[in-house]
């Protein structure tokens, strides 16, 4: 018997999820907002299948989906920063970048007071700009002040802002002491910011053209804001046990909710539409990489009972009891969940009133786990 079966918390979480599914099934019975015939029935069947199969083998589907897929792609289970970063960067695709971006946007907007005040959005682009333009891959604090400083605000403000970003992305600083400054002949301390050595190696492989002969590194075009976002995620992943360092319960709730949304989307069944459905003629609909899925799960009444237990499951698997204790189950948080249900709009699109999932690797891989287990069960 494995240790996990004895884990009563895990068992309770699974039970709580099943109760949620029951509630969602009940709510779904009351309303039909679908416009594709059979969509509601397909969702009902899926929810019932989830109810039947998810608790099996100690919640194997959840464990595999979270441990093997979500963690590998976005939140690697390692204490090694470079390994975490390498894994996240490796799983990048154009569409997956939308998820990563959304993750940060949601996160930044919830932390707007803490990071960079009114300018939080472009600040990452500015960091990209600052690094991409320097071939030695360092930025000097003075360069940052010159590029981004606001003459109407004291230097300390910009300094503070820079330090927050450095911490957020896990960058490192180095000091250079000049005994006699060339202009004033005074002692001067320059602070350089750069990536940790091991990250520089990965960047060198992927984004930096590093020339040993002339000891210069040039940054390629592929180096973009998502590299920083991957750094940010890797930094969170390795510091998951240090709640204060990763921004407290805000971060835990935000990240768990987005991953819960990814799980939920992956579990949605594909619908077949009739040949004369206008969606098939819509140029935005790409049959080869999009699937029409039911939209009823987005309704407040259905999402609410599913979402909270799912968030707890994610939190528990990613950060154990420590994270679970930080999940806020207040009424206010339920409102925030409502905000999250409409996120991931570039991979979860509306086309002519139908909800379409873009079949990116993470969705496909998680859905495959479910199908595999379902097929195995049917064969038995």
């Amino acid at each position: 018997m494995t240790a996990e079966i004895k884990d009563t918390t895990w068992k309770e979480l699974l039970e709580e999820f099943i109760k949620g599914v029951d509630k969602a099934v009940e709510e779904l019975g009351k309303r039909d907002v679908e416009n594709i015939p059979g969509a509601r029935e397909a969702l009902l069947t899926r929810l019932n299948n989830m109810k039947m199969h998810f608790p099996k083998n100690n919640g194997e589907i959840f464990i595999r989906a979270i441990n093997d897929k979500i963690q590998n792609a976005f939140f690697p289970e390692t204490m090694d920063f470079s390994q975490a970063f390498r894994d996240i960067v490796k799983s990048r695709t154009h569409e997956q970048d939308f998820i990563i971006n959304e993750l940060l946007n949601g996160f930044v907007s919830s932390k707007a007071k803490a990071i960079a005040l009114g300018t939080e959005g472009p600040i990452i682009d500015r960091m990209v700009e600052a690094f991409a333009k320097r071939n030695d891959f360092h930025i000097v604090d003075y360069q940052f002040f010159a590029m981004f400083g606001d003459p109407n605000k004291p230097r300390a403000y910009v300094k503070n802002q820079l330090q927050k970003l450095i911490d957020l992305f896990g960058l490192v600083s180095k000091e250079l002491v000049v005994e006699k400054d060339i202009r004033r002949s005074e002692k001067k301390i320059y602070t350089f910011y750069t990536f940790p050595e091991e990250i520089l190696e990965i960047l060198a492989e992927k984004y930096v053209i590093f020339d040993e002969e002339i000891e210069q590194a040039r940054v390629s075009e592929a180096f973009d804001r998502n590299v920083f976002i991957c750094m940010f995620l890797a930094n969170l992943a390795i510091n998951r046990d240090n709640i204060e360092k990763i921004g407290g319960s805000y971060t835990i709730n935000g990240i768990s909710a987005i991953f819960a949304l990814i799980l939920l989307l992956s579990f949605m069944p594909k619908l077949s539409v009739e040949e004369n459905n206008p969606i098939l003629r819509d140029p935005s609909f790409k049959e080869d990489n999009m699937s029409v899925i039911p939209k009823s799960w987005m309704m407040k009444q259905i999402l609410e009972p599913l979402f909270e237990p799912l968030i707890k499951i994610i939190a528990y698997r990613l950060g154990g009891g420590l994270w679970l204790s930080k999940v806020i189950t207040s009424e206010i948080n339920k409102k925030i969940h409502e905000q999250i249900r409409f996120l991931l709009k570039d991979v979860n699109k509306w086309i002519l009133g139908n909800l379409c999932r873009v079949e990116i690797p993470i969705f496909v891989e998680i859905a495959n786990i479910f199908t595999e287990i379902l097929v195995g069960y049917n064969e038995e």
Binding site: V33, R126, I214, M298, K335
Partner: protein, 433 residues
């Protein structure tokens, strides 16, 4: 007491120099300094024995000699020329050092010659992008390229409907660019609502999220109410409270207060003080584009059921902004013209420079961009081109830094549009010949 007369400036600096004949020479100033430097360098390299290239010090000496010949009297120009020349020489040195073991030096010389040739060609196009006077502008690269881009991402038309439909045509290929055009990176300077004047601001991330929420709520489970302008017809309506319910701690108070204005920009209106419903004119547009379908009710009323796509409301915003382009906010004007200027500049480079051209980085350098793009932005604003208020283009270097920083984070879809611009350049060139 001194008798010297004091001069008081009554207008802001730069404000009077806003004619075509004022701006074009400013645009040409730096380009016309870059081109001779590249041509001189090409001549020098051509005459140089390839083996001498292996001695890097020789290149340094040539550069120093060239700098002595500098006769520019305007400090900014001589500084720029020195910087530009030194960048060119540094890049050539790096290239030689990097490849002298792998490629024969004679081939390295040929490569450098080709790269210089391409760069001069690119500058030639940028130099002749338009006419000094405003005559015969229809055949210039600038006019043709502005119109080419305008048609795809910011079209003109006699009505919002015409513009909306033009935009929809290009949604499958360029939706991300169209959306990008509405989202200035300097959104935090925008006012959502201006009580004193009619002004259309850009979309902030929060407003974007709100528009997405509205789209989803329409598709999920809207209410239906009487269509005020048409008897026995019902239109979908959603509660404004539902839109703002998820926002806690007053984080969307400003947006909630300005909902009427926001609604107007996405073709909606407030009914009975609590519902958001489509305007009469928008209902027609939605019906024609299959975003509303008719559903006959048992009591004989005709119900319009919403079936919105991601772009349904956002494209209305863009069409509305395009129709009323004289009323765009300062941020949006700067952002739109910046994007057009950037796309044209990069499109020309893409056309003329090969991918491996070592001088690409100089063209994309912030220091070069900030010398060329601001004037290109102003030229693009003239009535025959985009027709937006060029007086709102900001001149402060601090602000320019801020907007040019966006170049570091281009979206992929913009890159695709740049490729299209390059193809269009080729087409224009063939027609000219």
């Amino acid at each position: 007491m001194s008798n010297r007369k004091t001069y008081t400036r009554t207008t802001k600096p730069g404000k009077r120099r806003e004619k075509w004949t004022d701006i074009l020479p400013r645009y040409l100033t730096f380009i016309s300094h870059m081109r001779p430097i590249l041509r001189e360098t090409r001549r020098i390299i051509k005459d140089l024995d390839p083996d001498l290239l292996l001695d890097i010090e020789i290149l340094d000496k040539i550069r120093q000699e060239e700098e002595k010949r500098n006769i520019r009297t305007v400090r900014a120009l001589s500084e720029f020329s020195a910087m530009y020349r030194s960048n060119i020489y540094e890049i050539m040195k790096d290239f030689i050092l990097k490849y002298h073991d792998k490629i024969p030096i004679i081939d390295i010389k040929d490569y450098i010659m080709d790269f210089l040739h391409e760069s001069v060609d690119a500058l030639d196009v940028l130099r002749k992008i338009t006419n000094p006077d405003k005559k015969y502008y229809e055949n210039t690269y600038l006019y043709r390229l502005v119109k080419f881009l305008e048609e795809k991402i910011f079209p003109r038309g006699n009505s919002v409907k015409v513009i909306y439909e033009k935009l929809l045509e290009h949604v499958p290929q360029f939706y991300e660019c169209q959306r990008h055009l509405l989202q200035p990176h300097t959104y935090y300077r925008e006012k959502i609502e201006n009580a004193d004047l009619f002004e259309i601001p850009g979309i902030s991330p929060k407003i974007y999220q709100i528009i997405n929420n509205i789209t989803s709520l329409y598709n999920l489970d809207p209410n239906y109410g009487a269509f005020p302008e048409k008897e026995k017809h019902e239109i979908p309506m959603i509660l404004t409270n539902d839109v703002f319910a998820p926002y806690i701690d007053s984080i969307a108070n400003a947006e909630e207060d300005a909902i009427e204005k926001i609604a107007e920009r996405i073709g909606l209106r407030i009914i009975d003080g609590i519902f958001l419903a489509p305007e009469e004119s928008f209902v027609k547009i939605l019906l024609e584009n299959n975003f509303l379908r008719e559903n006959k009710q048992a009591d004989g009323t005709l119900r319009y059921v919403a079936q919105f796509s991601n772009e349904t409301l956002l494209m209305y915003y863009l069409a509305f902004a395009s129709m009323r382009r004289g009323f765009l906010s300062r941020e949006l004007i700067n952002w739109i013209s910046m994007n057009f200027a950037f796309l044209i500049y990069m499109g020309v480079l893409k056309w003329k420079l090969s991918e491996e051209n070592i001088f690409y980085s100089i063209f994309k350098d912030l220091q070069t961009n900030e010398k060329v793009l601001p004037y290109l932005m102003k030229l693009i604003c003239f009535p025959n081109y985009l027709g937006i208020d060029k007086m709102k283009i900001r001149d402060s270097p601090q602000y320019r830094k801020e907007i040019f920083n966006f170049i570091g984070s281009q979206i992929d879809n913009l890159k695709e549009l740049i490729l299209e611009v390059a193809v269009e350049c080729e087409k224009i060139d063939k027609e000219k010949k």
